[in-house]
Amino acid sequence: MSDGAAVLPLTLGVAPPRPLPAAPRRGVRVEVVGCHRRFGRVVALDGVSLTIEPGELIALLGPSGCGKTTLLRALAGLEELDQGAVRIGGSDISRQSPHQRNLGMVFQAYSLFPHLTAISNVAFGLRLRRVERTARRRRAAELLELVGLAAQADRFPHQMSGGQQQRVALARALAVEPRVLLLDEPLSALDAKVRSQLRDEIRRIQLELGITTLYVTHDQDEALSIADRVGVMNAGRLQQLDVPMAVYDHPVNAFVAEFVGSVSRLPATVGPAATVEVLGRRIPLPASTPAHPEGTPVDVLVRPEALRARPDPGGLGMVTGRSFRGAVSRIDVVLPGGVRAAATVAGAEAIALGPGVAVAVEVVGAPLFVTDPRRDAG
């Protein structure tokens, strides 16, 4: 086994899931340094650098084509870099082929070998490592038990559901005791309930093994709920890398603010003494805001929970939609000039805020970000 590789707890039982142990942090450090990659005229990676600490799970989040999958594939060795380096445990592996890197990877979907049963799929990597047949089947069976599929060992992929297939794919990736686990949108082809269950399962196993993990997703809920840190990518650049709460509450730019979570973009005017006037109310500017001369028109980005909407026959806003979300409801409002905003209200308050109701909207929390007005926002 390679130095620093995660050691599988082969005696684990999984059903029911046990309380999570403290993360043993046995993983290795992964460093990606100054990575560049172009596909023709498209820049997929534009100088991306990041470090994943041993045992840490980083989720890379971003829109389609932002370069997150390219970065993961470059780490795996499935994509060549034009420039830059990948170091694992201090060793530069940039020139190594995928089969030499000893990394585990779970693909988006349908990557199980269709001609092999679940247990043979899991044992595949061990077979390549010439592990004796009995030993590799025992190891594969234990891993299937780890992902809760011991009873499906002899099923072929087409006889299993999408969620079961992805569990087998996870067990297969872990079977070779990889130094790093790479997950490329592993839940995107699954339905919401299975996705949520498997997401928790992945996190539980990752913490139990203490394996360094890079998780690529375009689903912000997934990224924010599973990761130690979240990296937001756009146009081949890593925009922000921080703990989920910081990414949500303190985005470094308008893109991150708008991509992670929901925001309303409201027209405002810079006032005196580091304030901004928005919806007829003067509020302090966020500390990160660059200096603007007084009277400069700007847009402020506000989370739904920082906006309050209340019924008011003389209000300037009108409710256009209401969606129930358990303890709270989201109210969509259109303001003068066609400006759209979303506010979160408590369940009982939402009853009076049906579509067509005139409302007064005010900013009650700190805005996330102040940015130049968007041209189409008028």
């Binding site: 499935l78 082929s97 089969h99 693909f107 070998f113 269709p114 001609h115 559901s161 999408g162 297969r172």
Partner: protein
């Protein structure tokens, strides 16, 4: 729409019927029967009835009585040699074409040039349906004793006919057969090769497989059922080919279809139609044996598809 998971994760539209439900519903059963009716009629008229006639005739004397004489004669002398020649030629041509055709299909599937793809598949469609006199002439004109290619090679100091090659031999015929069998293999294998998912190879590589091992442990086993099916098609195609071999060899090489042709046309001896039918019966048996062998192999290779 209901979907059923299938190999490779794609979903096939289901019929919407519970298993056996169609069989229990007379009206639906009738509609299904009407749908396949024309094909069943065709099959009966042009395969089952002629085959039954051949089998019956194989055991009849010219006077109409039962006899084993035709079968005995068909398994002796030149006819036995003809079986050997046909089996050898078909096996060599089919196997060589299957391997080369699969390699071409893989190369084509990995190319991202649609124009090349269209050109090759169109060309294959034409070549797979070329045979008989035009094909024989084309080869005589190119690699015959005085063909263009032969003359060019001679000018370069290498006349293949001085080194044991002859277009009019079993090896020469195998080359000619490859002309239409390779394109046929490309057309048959291309969909199967295109269905190979890149993720399988990448997953294998991530698990430690070199490129050769990716093919050995994933690509080839996944392609095996389609390869075996196509190999059988090629073998039977080559085994039954008549016109090209007849034109090219003028009967100088013993092959079962040529022997049957001679007997039925009465070129040598009149009244030998029953012997010709006995040879035909033998061909049917060969195809059945190959079919059974294929089914056994296929059952093993395609275990994961059920």
């Amino acid at each position: 729409m209901d979907t059923t998971p299938s190999a490779g994760g794609r979903a096939l539209p289901s019929s919407g019927l519970a298993p056996g439900r169609a069989a229990r519903h007379p009206g639906r059963l009738l509609r299904h029967a009407l749908g396949v009716g024309p094909f069943l009629c065709y099959l009966t008229l042009f395969l089952i009835v002629p085959s039954a006639a051949v089998v019956t005739s194989a055991f009849q004397s010219p006077s109409g009585g039962f006899t084993w004489a035709n079968i005995r004669a068909s398994l002796s002398g030149v006819y036995l040699q003809a079986y050997g020649g046909s089996l050898e030629l078909s096996a060599i041509a089919a196997l060589a074409s299957a391997v080369l055709g699969t390699i071409i299909a893989v190369a084509l599937a990995s190319s991202d040039r649609p124009l090349l793809h269209r050109l090759v598949t169109t060309g294959c469609g034409v070549m797979a349906n070329t045979g008989g006199l035009p094909l024989a002439f084309a080869f005589i004109a190119s690699i015959g004793n005085f063909g263009i290619v032969t003359e060019m090679l001679s000018a370069l100091g290498f006349n293949p006919y001085d080194h044991g090659f002859s277009l009019y031999s079993l090896a020469g015929l195998a080359i000619v057969y490859c002309y239409f069998l390779i394109p046929l293999m490309v057309l048959v294998m291309l969909p199967a090769v295109q269905a190979l998912r890149q993720e399988w190879f990448e997953a294998a590589a991530m698990l430690g497989a070199r490129r050769r091992q990716c093919w050995q442990l994933v690509g080839i086993p996944v392609l095996a059922p389609a390869f075996l099916a196509a190999l059988m098609v090629l073998f039977t195609d080559a085994f039954a080919a008549y016109a090209t071999a007849d034109v090219l060899t003028q009967g100088s090489i013993g092959l079962v279809p040529i022997e049957i042709g001679s007997l039925i046309q009465g070129n040598v001896l009149a009244g030998q139609q029953n012997l010709g039918d006995a040879l035909g019966f033998g061909m049917i048996l060969v195809v059945v044996v190959v079919g059974v062998a294929y089914a056994v192999l296929q059952r093993r290779a395609a275990r994961w598809q059920r």
